[in-house]
């Protein structure tokens, strides 16, 4: 995948036209008596943080019961806009917020909640040790004065809310017994209890697999059908297209336009969000003479995966796609020495290997980029430099101690080679954007001089623009002779970035595709069938 050279003049015209058209369509609706009155309508919203304009004269409207997507890269102002609407931030003077027949110059969190604006935060704000019923009906134990808890009432409220969403749960079980997708639904049910008219969902699918996402999208449809408007924020454009009726695009704090979803494509939204064009093409590398780096034969771990055989050549990227529970991550962890196979063999660079632990695997040249960057892949509060060298500390030793000079030069080299944009090496990793964090995570593993790099869901929570940058790196790494296994839920991702794609289902490899010879749709049909 290559990034085009910025915004072509013709493209710019397009954007401008779109922008104007966006307003036109809003104006049309205002004039057209048959169109429903907007539930929420914002005009002239400006926000400045420390001299930086976070929102520039933004307008935004949501119709009752519609599913409206808010699209934009990190830093485009989506979160700021949501916080203005929910009363966390007060916009600069001149802003008009019309909501449900009332006009406000700014919102307060109390008015926003009381009038039915609910936010489902990315981190959910649920209570894992409490029961589902308590989580959903927690509103009933809030209040100034202590009262006795009415558990029967809580259960009734919770079951009602879940019924409205068309799902049934064991509401008496503690929430931590449920997978993340169902916790997401609990959070939605909780919003319903708060008499929601307008629900904001901030990246609700970031940690869900495809099938869980489909389930969630069904719930969102039910919600919308019951008259609740939903504003959906997501990095995953496929679901944006699937779920919404209209899309508002922001870029650098300014409104790009409002578009009916019908007629939009993923690449079109990407262009609007980034202002760049992306050239999608499949890889054409001739690797038939390249030596085999990894050969796996009949690898099995009962209950996780069964009889898996695969080869990866030097310079090749092998994609693995499949649903959650297909055994992809378990297979990766086994190749990385963190789990022991029951049977089968692994040959790495011509030598049979049997790892006792992942330390052996790292020493033998295997690197594994964890699927969960936030909690497993990086140590968030620690410095960028410390994160980058953590897997290769032995390379920066001098007389048995860590040499700060060697550390600095190693870090500088990787920051340069991978184009990581950072402030200072000693800043906490959490100060970086998702894309830059992922580059640091990749650098951490490259510093160990791997022969085989396993990337498990490397673009979760990473912007569209930054994704292209990451796959650029992956492509260059493969060209430099690394063998790469790329695991992803998103079929297009493996389709455009791997030489071959394996389909894994229920612990077995059930299909192999060559991107040039098939279409992403064909693979998707096989995977999601």
């Amino acid at each position: 995948m290559a990034v085009g050279p910025g915004l072509a003049p013709a493209r710019l015209q397009d954007c401008k036209r779109d922008w104007i058209r966006g307003f036109d369509s809003m104006a049309d609706q205002a004039l057209d008596g048959a169109a429903p009155r907007p539930l929420l309508s914002l005009r002239n919203v400006n926000m400045t943080f420390g001299g930086v304009k976070a929102l520039k004269n933004v307008s935004f409207e949501v119709l009752p019961g519609e599913v409206h997507c808010l699209a934009g890269e990190n830093g485009s102002g989506k979160s700021t806009l949501i916080k203005v609407i929910t009363g966390v931030y007060k916009p600069e003077a001149g802003a008009v917020i019309d909501y449900d027949g009332q006009s406000y110059s700014h919102m307060s969190p109390v008015t926003a909640q009381a009038s039915g604006i609910q936010v489902i935060w990315q981190d959910l704000a649920l209570f894992p040790e409490m029961t589902v019923a308590e989580n959903i009906a927690f509103q009933t134990v809030i209040g100034r004065w202590p009262r006795l808890v009415n558990y029967a009432e809580m259960r009734r409220v919770a079951i009602n809310a879940l019924q409205r969403l068309g799902v049934t749960f064991d509401v008496d079980l503690a929430l931590h017994h449920f997978p993340i997708a169902q916790r997401q639904i609990v959070a939605i049910a909780r919003a319903l209890v708060g008499e929601a008219k307008l629900v904001f969902m901030d990246e609700p699918t970031a940690s869900l697999t495809q099938s869980e996402t489909d389930y969630l999208l069904d719930i969102v449809r039910n919600l919308s059908a019951s008259g609740v408007a939903v504003v959906f924020v997501s990095h995953r454009l496929a679901e944006v297209l699937e779920i919404s009726s209209r899309v508002t695009v922001l870029r650098d704090g300014a409104l790009v336009g409002v578009y009916p979803t019908k007629g939009l494509t993923q690449s079109r939204i990407t262009e609007l969000m980034t202002g760049k064009t992306f050239d999608y093409s499949v890889l054409h590398r001739d690797l038939s003479r390249s030596p085999v780096m990894l050969e796996v034969k009949g690898l099995s771990r009962p209950g996780e995966f069964d009889d898996v055989s695969l080869t990866v050549r030097r310079g090749e990227t092998l994609g693995i796609s499949g649903l959650l529970g297909a055994g992809r991550t378990e297979l990766a962890l086994t190749l990385f020495g963190m789990r022991k196979p029951k049977s089968g063999s692994v040959v790495l660079d011509g030598r049979p290997v049997r790892f006792g632990s992942n330390r052996d695997a790292i020493a033998a040249g295997v690197a594994y980029l964890s699927e969960d960057r936030l909690s497993l892949g990086l140590i968030q509060p620690q410095a960028i430099a410390d994160n980058m060298v953590i897997a290769s500390l032995d390379k920066i030793l001098s007389g048995g101690f860590i040499s700060s000079d060697r550390k600095r030069s190693l870090v500088n080299r990787w920051i340069r080679d991978l184009g990581v944009r950072i402030g200072k090496q000693d800043d906490a990793i959490s100060t970086l954007s998702g894309g830059n964090q992922q580059r640091v995570a990749i650098a951490k593993w490259l510093a160990t001089d791997p022969k085989l790099l396993i990337l498990d869901a490397p673009t979760v929570g990473v912007d569209v623009g930054a994704r292209a940058g990451i796959f650029d790196i992956v492509s260059k790494l493969a060209d430099s002779g690394l063998a790469i296994i790329l695991i992803s839920d998103e079929v297009p991702e493996v389709y455009f970035n791997a030489d071959r794609v394996l389909h894994m289902a229920q612990g077995r490899i059930v299909g192999e595709f060559t991107p040039g010879a098939t279409t992403p749709q064909a693979i998707e049909e096989a995977v999601y069938a």
Binding site: F127, Q139, V141, D172, H177, P179
Partner: protein, 333 residues
Amino acid sequence: MRRFVRSHATELALLAVIAVICVFLSFATDRFFTLGNAFDLLNTSSVNIIFAVGLLVVLIAGGIDISFAVAASVVQYLTATVLGWIGGGNWIVGFIIAGVLGVALGCINALLIHGFRIISIVATISTFNIFFGLLMFFTGGVSIYNLPDWLTTRVVLFEREMADGTWAEITLPVLIMAICVFATWALITRTTTGRQLYAFGDNPEGARRFGINIGAMQFIAFGWLGLMAGIAGLVQAHYAQEVVPNALYGRELDVLAAVVLGGARLGGGKGSVLGCILGVLLVSITQNGLNLMGVSPFAFKMIVGAIILAAITLSNTSIERLLPFLKSRRVPS
């Protein structure tokens, strides 16, 4: 049934361990399985159970407290002194004084934690040293033996003469313990405040977004532990019939271990009154049994430590793994 096992795994594991120990002790000693010994166990465990349910509330709210045992010593000493000034008093006056002082000391901890944003373990290690230092400094380590009569008189609530002529008795501390246990149970499971405490300990940020008053939560949790510590202090003075400044020093770790053993989590949001009681009982039954078996008291700490480790391991190991038939099917997604 399966749900009950899943949500009460720790309590059931503890009960199993206690049952095994009891069966063993019943055969190994002839005194253990008697009514008199059972009542003795209750009488001697009362103070620790009162401490334990107080500490439970703080742990549920996501905090920890090291200072409550020496705070109870301070309360004992001050209450005895005040009772001396006013010339006597009675149980009600005693509890009011001890309770108020206990709550006040607990609130000092809450103020440090909430007002000055000091993490609770550091704040309470500091107050542990300050409370104990002040107590030793002002008392010079001198004990009070001259307590009012009502405080030192044993109050027997129930008694029965046994076949061998000894008396099995339940005394006042057991009643007070029962009231404290019931009150704590009602607070944390039956009131909205209690559920807010759980929520706050489970996910502080989530609780804050719901508009829960975080400061109030800290003051309620540490205030409740202070109240329980004050009551426990007075009961301990009654039981020992004297006030010795360093009598309770070191008790905090025994109680903390027992509460964690009972399923409370140091991260907050988890724990039950039943687990707490079982945790304390497991430790006291073990000590009692060792006593009856004539084991050297020097070996007690070692064996109790080993039992705590074993029980924690058992309750951490998923009960579903030990009892495969209870394994639940995957929740469909």
